[in-house]
Symmetry: C2
Subunit: 335 residues, 2 copies
């Protein structure tokens, strides 16, 4: 380790609106040495997720806010370099909340050893076999409860979660309509992923396009975005529709309180259900999702895509790509 | 029938904001004679419900709008005067959508014959053994799913539905906090009905008072009101809270689109569930509610109150009482 440093991004300001690089401080610290029952991980990939933006605010969510001065919280995959912990050995690939840095010390809590599978790239454990795949799988199946012939609408449909949700919806026999922010994305989800239709919300009137593509109304909304897009969807829901409330990225950068959907009352009229979903509640059932997703992958029924940014130094600004609609598939940073 | 007329309120304008008498036309028509398989009912009581206001708008809800020129739609209890229908006989008391008029012809569809029970006033079939009791019973138990020790908040708590919901919540072992619009109402629901606490939203800061009365947070919101009151409740919900969306009376008189709750995102953070409820979906299970509510009534565990207005001519303006918070218990018009 001589001469090497542990490069880190530390949160130093609560972001207002989009992330600015100045919300973080670049630090270079000595590479840490594990104490007893600790291990040192060298991070290989960071997962960039909308939830990172939430963690940077001062409002507690389902986890406490990242403290000012602390290394930015983030999911990462790395390799164990040195272990004084009985459950981990050097060379193991692990995943956990290892943070935006080159090296992390861990006491093993919350850390998962990844299976050794040379046929799968490590990033698949973000994109399909990790929190993203579980979110799509359990969110759609447990909260959305799709039935064959129903119509499923997915927002942020070319994102990591949305692109999987739509494919799982097709496997369940649904008509699937995706909402995404570019013609490229719309082409990808319809031509490559098998969505029945796509709406480019940047160039089309969303409500009218949805009405055209959902002639029988909307039974399930897998909601990743919120804002006016969700409102347009809620205006078209059917009796006993389900809204899987998985993300509200339209609001994460808001600088003023954002109102809820104007069509909220339609939930009453249509006896619809909205239910919040956070994947943490399903970690115990991870093997179930991995088994199903793995089978569908082998059967060619499901595809995933990694959108890779190179270099830890890119992490803060790369996060904005999620909110600009600039990524296609799972956004990761390769260290 | 010679010399008698059928007095009616016919809807002639879509109300803007609160109801005006000029939104209706007073008509006097001949008393109708039943044809084959029809019966004539003389209305005795009208039920005034927030949903009347919704039916008067031009927007289809769970029923089509009342057409301009038509007799105003409303639930009524009456007595069969003349029947040419095999299932009804003169003297039967019946309940159904008989409208704002003295006399209604019916083909029997949607009409219920009330049991002959001299111990119960007829209005009990609005207040406890009709749509109101069923709304409270099924809405709370099926959608809210109360567990002993949980905290239940009820808005419009001194209204017909709210006052029953709170008492059923107490029977289920919940801590029950009601939100109402006067000190009289707050006294009634706590001292007479056994609610644990009450918040007068007209004189207290709702969120602070709720925080004080709900030290363990809110597990169930039985929502009759919407608007800022619902927002205050949603800010205090617990993990896996349930919101029974039964009414949004804060918005029924709105003249501009009303935003959804600003705390909508808290549903995601707290993995909460919002579900719309309309009692029509439970009519097949009416006997189940009536049996339970009747037993609780006999056991002295539940009370109800009728707020009676005299005279058909009062109906249009009396409806506003529901939105002004002027009624206590079930609002009816005695003809």
């Amino acid at each position: 380790m001589a001469g090497e440093v542990n490069r880190q991004w530390r949160l130093v300001a609560r972001p207002v609106g989009m992330i600015k690089e100045s919300d973080f401080r670049w630090a270079e610290e000595p590479v840490p040495a594990p104490g007893e029952n600790q291990l040192r991980v060298r991070n290989l990939y960071l997962s960039l997720d909308p939830t990172n933006r939430m963690w940077a605010t001062e409002t507690p969510t389902y986890l406490p806010p990242v403290g000012l001065g602390e290394v930015m919280r983030g999911i990462a995959i790395g390799v164990v370099e040195e272990s004084r912990h009985p459950n981990f050995k050097a060379g193991d690939h692990v995943q956990g909340l290892l943070g935006w840095q080159d090296y992390a010390l861990s006491d093993g809590r919350g850390l998962t050893v990844l299976p050794h599978n040379p046929a799968l790239p490590l990033t698949a454990y973000f994109g399909l076999f990790g929190h993203i795949g579980m979110t799509a799988y359990f969110g759609l199946l447990e909260i959305g409860r799709p039935q064959p012939g129903e119509t499923l609408v997915v927002s942020a449909a070319a994102g990591a979660v949305g692109s999987l949700v739509g494919q799982i919806g097709k496997i369940q026999g649904c008509r699937v309509v995706g909402i995404a922010g570019s013609d490229d994305k719309c082409r990808w989800i319809t031509e490559d992923l098998g969505f029945d239709a796509a709406v480019n919300y940047k160039t089309e009137p969303v409500r009218e396009s949805l009405r055209r593509h959902c002639p029988d109304g909307i039974d399930i909304d897998f909601e990743n975005v919120g804002g006016t897009i969700m409102d347009d969807v809620l205006g078209l829901i059917n009796l006993r529709a389900r809204v899987v409330l998985c993300g509200l990225i339209a609001n994460y950068n808001a600088t003023e309180p954002a109102p809820g959907p104007y069509n909220f009352g339609n939930l009453l009229i249509k006896r619809a259900r909205v239910e919040g979903f956070i994947v943490l509640d399903y970690v115990d059932r991870a093997p179930e999702a991995a088994a199903a997703l793995g089978r569908w992958l082998l059967e060619g029924k499901i595809k995933y895509r990694i959108d890779e940014v190179a270099g830890l130094e890119q992490a803060p600004l790369a996060l904005n790509r999620l909110f600009e609609g600039a990524n296609m598939g799972k956004l990761v940073v390769k260290l």
